[in-house]
């Protein structure tokens, strides 16, 4: 949800960053997304492809890195899992959520070479 507003903010940061370093174009933009952030990568990607037109990020690839959540399995102990599925990937038992991030961060960019 609120992907368009988040996208506008992201593009603002990318524009400032690129202007400071004279990058004419970006090739890749990397985001770190928490599983409780409420951000749907597909929706953000869709908004980004539309809103990036005419900016330094036009045509760049948006890459998501999911911040895993920490769960407790009664059989396997504490495990990290990159989906909020509540089913242990090892034993199939129920998982209890211990911690997941609610944040979204811009963590990396690759400027176009040449």
């Amino acid at each position: 949800m609120h992907e368009a507003a988040i996208c506008e903010a992201l593009l603002g940061q990318l524009t400032t960053l690129a202007a400071r370093r004279d990058w004419p174009r970006l090739q890749e933009v990397r985001l770190r997304v928490g599983l409780l952030s409420g951000v749907a990568p597909e929706a953000l990607e869709f908004a980004f492809s539309a809103l990036a037109a005419g900016t330094v990020a036009e045509g760049s690839a948006l890459v998501f890195e999911t911040e895993p959540a920490r769960f407790a399995c009664i059989t396997c102990g504490e495990i990290d899992h990159d989906r909020l599925e509540f089913v242990c990937p090892r034993c199939g038992g129920p998982l209890r959520l211990l911690h997941a991030s609610r944040d979204l961060f811009l963590c990396g960019v690759t400027p176009s070479s040449g």
Partner: protein, 266 residues
């Protein structure tokens, strides 16, 4: 450790491991924290560490207002609750029963949000507690700014418990802190036991989960044990109440829980 490139987070010692495994100093750094190293193919990948790249300023603005609401609640000795659920889970009816039991013995007030109508506010007014209706138009959640505006119209003294009834929605309200002390999530027995597993962001962090409409549990085939287990998976530590606002079953425990949250009650 930066998950993006494997380099150490220390400000004074930044050495990067490239994909070939060779340690390499970053070739450029700046006061904004961005730095880069050269990959095997000659491309330059820039990144930064920690939490410097927050890209949700809309939510940041909400967070600032929420903190200001929280300060105001504390100054006035108000305990604020954010009541969230799907539409039709029984928030308004539970509030009505709650106010009937507590107000005016313990001063209560309500801020209620809906897309349209004053219906919920009108349903609560006979309790005698001050009620403010926010109609959000098309907005699918309450935000901290709307709550701050509604607070202006409530009495400045005499309120000890403030119930903020959010727009019926299990998605968006999860991202908007209103400044409340406690989030309460309602789950009606007609909704099925798996709701907490389907909507983790709203259930996780709840102070209490109310399994409502227990009078309908049997005809709806609602398995209370499974529902409780689902809540415990997503929101460990949340208190769980099973109640029916219609029959009064379970209301005593809910009211006692609210009273126990008041300062000096334990």
């Amino acid at each position: 450790m930066c998950r993006d490139c494997g380099c150490a987070e220390s400000e004074s010692f930044r050495v990067h491991s490239t994909s070939s495994g060779h340690a390499q100093a970053p070739f450029a750094t700046a006061d904004d924290g961005w730095h880069a190293h050269t990959a095997d193919d000659g491309s330059h990948s820039w990144h930064r560490h920690g939490n410097q790249g927050h890209v949700q300023p809309i939510l940041d603005a909400n967070q600032r207002q929420a903190e200001s609401n929280r300060t105001l609640f504390n100054e006035r000795g108000i305990i604020a609750f954010n009541l969230v659920s799907s539409p039709g889970s029984g928030k308004t009816t539970l509030l009505r029963r709650t106010l009937e039991r507590l107000h005016p013995r313990i001063g209560c007030a309500v801020i209620v949000g809906d897309l349209e109508t004053q219906a919920d506010a009108e349903a609560l007014r006979p309790t005698g507690a001050p009620v403010v209706q926010i109609t959000t138009g098309t907005v699918c959640h309450l935000d901290a700014r709307m709550v701050a505006a509604a607070l202006e119209t409530l009495p400045r003294t005499g309120i000890r418990l403030l119930f903020i009834e959010n727009v019926g929605n299990l998605v968006c309200p999860a991202s908007f802190d209103l400044g409340e002390a406690h989030r309460i999530v309602l789950l009606a027995s007609t909704e099925g036991e798996n709701k907490p597993l389907k909507y983790p962001p709203i259930f996780n962090g709840a102070e209490a989960v109310v399994l409502s409409k227990t009078d309908l549990a049997e005809p709806a085939g609602f398995d209370r044990v499974r529902a409780r287990a689902a809540v415990a998976q997503v929101a460990p530590g949340a208190a769980i109440f099973e109640l029916s606002s219609r029959t009064g079953e379970g209301l005593d425990a809910w009211i006692a829980h609210l009273e126990a949250l008041l300062p000096g009650s334990r």
